[in-house]
Symmetry: C2
Subunit: 340 residues, 2 copies
């Protein structure tokens, strides 16, 4: 763009024909005389003509761009989601613009406004841990801008959603700990205000109860962040309070590894004394020592499916649209930290 941009007008002038003809020639319209067409194409290539994207967007009322609002990028799971989104988008001729909310509610609100002015044809969003008021997202629906939520979704907005079966994953993980002989299983999770954490906690609870155990609130922690430091401090709190436990289920890999760090410091051996299970299958969970048992979430697939749902909405437009919720299955990856 700027000064240097070649337009069809330039081509038309140079060849002494009208812009209409140039446009048609470039579009491969069969009505154009072959010789004219050849001349246009040759000159276009010589001048390195690129159709002005902005003009096309305005004309067609479509930007061929998808917006993604995501709370973190340095995150193996989210990164795979983005990759899935990009692959589907590019394959359909769409670009992707990523807004990183950095887990900030204020930033998220700004991001929605940024995407609301016709810059994108549709939006894929995963809300931050702190998002409670979702008015800013409802506005997409009001304006009938296609919207798909993934992972951390908003319950009371009626649109497509793609989520992980957190409940089942967490149930299975805790079940595994019980079946390998653990009797006193602690829980360390992220902010319980988030639906995904509610589900992970519920899976934990139900797995215990299924086996006739009950939750001991002294070894349950709902942390603010889900980060490493929270895992360490939670494990420390449990031990300082002289709580007995032989396993920890951490609702994120970082919480789990943070907990292990403290256990080691306190002289406990993982998994001999205490088994630990994580959630997300970050790269570090494989590299850490002991390697961490964890839940593998299908991030790429989540991105792929979300993008497909969004493209469907975009293509549908005026037609009737009935929102779907896709629930994706997870896998347990058992490693050293829970192999007794």
């Amino acid at each position: 763009m700027k000064s240097g941009q070649v337009t069809i007008k330039d081509i038309a002038k140079e060849l002494n024909i009208s812009v209409s003809t140039v446009s048609r020639a470039l579009a491969g319209n069969p009505l154009v005389k072959p010789s004219t067409k050849a001349a246009v194409i040759e000159l276009a290539e010589k001048l390195n003509y690129q159709p002005n994207y902005t003009a096309l967007s305005l004309r067609n009322n479509t930007t061929k761009t998808l917006g993604v609002i995501i709370p973190q990028l340095v995150h193996d799971f989210f990164s795979m989601v983005v990759r899935g989104i990009e692959d589907v988008a590019y394959a359909s001729g769409y670009s992707v613009i990523i807004c990183n909310s950095h887990e900030s509610y204020e930033r998220e609100v700004i991001d929605t406004k940024t995407l609301m002015n016709g810059r994108v044809d549709g939006v894929l969003a995963c809300i931050t841990k702190h998002t409670k008021d979702v008015t800013h997202f409802k506005e997409f629906v009001n304006r009938s801008i296609p919207l798909v939520f993934f992972d951390c979704v908003v319950d009371d907005i009626d649109t497509d959603k793609v989520i992980i079966d957190d409940y089942e994953a967490s149930y299975n993980a805790v079940n595994h700990l019980i079946e390998t002989g653990r009797k006193h299983i602690a829980y360390i999770g992220g902010p319980i205000s988030l639906l995904i954490n509610q589900n992970r906690y519920k899976g934990y609870k139900d797995a215990l109860e299924k086996h006739g155990m009950s939750v001991n609130d002294n070894i349950v922690a709902h942390c603010e962040t889900g980060d490493f430091a929270d895992g360490t401090s939670s494990a420390k709190k449990f031990m300082d309070n002289n709580q007995q436990f032989d396993a920890i289920f951490g609702a994120t890999d970082m919480l789990a590894i943070g907990a292990i760090k403290h256990l080691k410091k306190a002289g406990k051996v993982v998994p001999h004394d205490i088994s630990v299970f994580g959630f997300s299958n970050w790269k570090i969970s494989e590299l850490y020592e002991p390697s961490l048992s964890t839940v593998d979430q299908p991030g790429y697939e989540m991105g792929r499916i979300s993008a497909e749902l969004l493209l469907n909405q975009i293509r549908n437009e005026d037609d009737t649209f009935s929102p779907k919720t896709e629930i994706l299955k997870t896998d347990l990856i058992v490693r050293e930290s829970s192999t007794i």
Copy 2:
């Protein structure tokens, strides 16, 4: 956008005034009668009017968007760079569109084309490990689209560049190993075709020579990826060949940790038997055991400076432009893996 979008035309019709007046009122033009202005603003708010971004772009020949081409996102360093870019961009009213080349040359070429059609006002780029032919980047210069390279830069394109002082960082790291008494220091690095790796290797070599040591090619590896597995296999190769060494300088944290993994397996104790130094200060380097000594690169600052240089180019436009290269300093972070 799409059907539902409110335009100034709608407002004009509703109030029985012209679009010009509406436009002026919204722009805060003082010539508009206060009562008219108030009415326009009130209605605009009521209808939740948002100026059409595409129309503005076309009109002003400016997109208020910066493009970023980056080879990886799940990377603590790049992530900080992006954050720095975003902060500067947003503060100046610019959006950021990120193209992830996924370390693929082909993808990178596509990304440059995507950004070449007037979608962005300028581009920030870090080339992939595999990029040798840089014709696609030269086209930005030909079209006088502002361009700034960061981190992995292209030497023979005359534009702004922001780089890390890889040479000095690596020199200092190896120097530290020598000063703590190490005599036989191995080198494991990424693809030597990349300038940054040439510099890291040179820093290693010069530090050795400065202390009267010489490079032993049997304990030098230039790997293809810089990933974990390459670190492991290089360390294995050194040991399988019965090479003696008491330290390893890994030109990425992943290479270093991969190497440690093998050392442990082979019964060596880090740092007692062998010191290890990494590069990049990934989060994992702090969590790993032993915690990894490493080079901290100022990612956020790199992003910030790159974006500022780009915005300067954009604002300058026609004026004379003399490309600058900023070289950023690094810090050594000494942790357990090199503390004897």
